[in-house]
């Protein structure tokens, strides 16, 4: 989370002195400009390029490493004595999804708290901007909702590659590259498509996992 939260502040969408500056630069270098920026404008810039850069590594690394270790060391066989393969797949995939979504939600809450403390509710431009505020909040909530499904897709990709390659470095690098190629087009892709793709990848992972574990 210590890496994800600073990445929320790195988008450069605010124009000062003819330059695009990020929220982090405003806080440290242009602090005199803070009263002119409403907090919703900063919150809307949460999902910056740097966030998409670190997101797959941070969100997937912990669970990928543990999962691959359990497959390589055949630790799952102790689990299979008590339960079946379906249950093992279900518990590991839920662990992947829940840990990534929890990380996103907690870091978002901390980010919003920081921004609410630092930036004012309304910008110094006052009532002129009030009419836009409610639509901006709705847009942000929709963006966050969409981002949850995108993270779900990335988690499904990481799970799939974990089962295929069983090598933590290869998996993390492949997930990073897939995310790097996809994130620019993410906004144009619907939630339904993201969900269906994630489900298909999880299903394929399940079939491959059975084959891999039975062959070991």
């Amino acid at each position: 989370m210590l890496l994800i939260i600073p990445s929320f502040f790195t988008d450069g969408m605010i124009l000062i002195d003819n330059k695009n500056v990020s929220a982090m630069e405003i806080i440290f270098t242009y602090s005199y400009f803070i009263p002119n920026i409403a907090r919703i404008e900063v919150i809307e810039m949460q999902f910056s390029d740097w966030y998409y850069f670190v997101m797959p590594i941070i969100m997937c690394s912990p669970t990928v490493i543990l999962f691959i270790d359990s497959i390589r060391s055949k630790n799952y066989q102790f689990y299979l004595i008590r339960e079946n393969m379906k249950s093992f797949f279900f518990s590991t995939s839920v662990a992947f999804v829940v840990s990534a979504l929890l990380m996103l939600c907690c870091s978002t809450l901390i980010f919003i708290s920081f921004v609410s403390i630092i930036f004012p509710h309304q910008s110094a431009y006052g009532e002129v901007w009030m009419a836009l505020d409610s639509s901006q909040y709705v847009n942000y909530i929709w963006k966050l909702f969409h981002e949850l499904f995108y993270v779900l897709l990335i988690v499904s990709v990481s799970y799939f590659f974990s089962v295929v390659f069983v090598n933590r470095y290869v998996v993390i690098t492949m997930v990073f590259l897939v995310n790097y190629l996809l994130y620019r087009y993410m906004e144009d892709v619907g939630i339904v498509f993201l969900s269906i793709t994630a489900i298909i990848l999880f299903f394929l992972s399940y079939r491959l996992l059975i084959r891999r574990c039975l062959n070991q």
């Binding site: 003819n18 850069f53 590594i57 090598n167 470095y169 290869v170 690098t173 590259l177 790097y180």
Partner: protein, 280 residues
Amino acid sequence: MKIALRYLLSEYKRWLMQSKNITLLIGIVLVRKVVIVPLLDAAKSMNTPLQIWETSIAVGNSGLVLLLLPVFFIVLISDFPFLDSNLYFVLPRIGRKRWCVAQILFVYVSALSYVVFIIFTTFIQTAFESYVFDGWSLVVTDYEDQFRIRTLIPLNLYNQMSPVKAFLWTFLLLFLFTSLSASVILLGSSYGKKKLAVGAWIITIMLGMATTSLKITVQWIFPSSHAILWIHYDCYFRAVRFPVACSALILLFLSILFNILSYRKMKRIDYSSLGEGEMI
């Protein structure tokens, strides 16, 4: 010496073939995002080519890239020296001293390979849109700050030296700093404190970068500050804040000192106590 070189070659091949090296792709993407894409966009907007070494110079002088590249290198050589069960068969055959010499040579060979790889990947991404003449391009010397190129190749560089000279010094400093990182790991490993050495070194790098960005005199205490070329010079005057040759000598001296200390320790050590397993 021949035996040590042969052993070095086998270890080097093993290092090249390890699966960790795939993480270099992340480093390449990072360098492309921070350095290459802004330079290429600026060149396209201005409709002028870049000088062939400018991207490599920008890579070696970017604070953010110099913060992350050594970390990537440390991840790649985190298993160094390779202390597996083979060691008990290798040591009686080649001898302790030759084994130590091979490890010290591996420090420099791995650092050189890494730096050459980074420079090569930046080079091939911009080579087809560059010229060879030894003079700074308009993209770098444009006085308007609109492309933020000054954060990549500042006035301190292009007002003081030609691109080829800047590239050679950048390459040398980067190589010496990377080999110093490997020497620190070797020293930590020889005293059985590899994780502590790596942690302390990463903190030293971060503090060095932080003091460099704040532009305070204490920055010269940290080796990472000596690895950045542009901070050695003033913006406009022909004034040197700290001689570059001295920085190169300091980095080389520290690297040799750590290697000598490692050699002296490793000659006497019980190797069964060294194995720390895979770090990262």
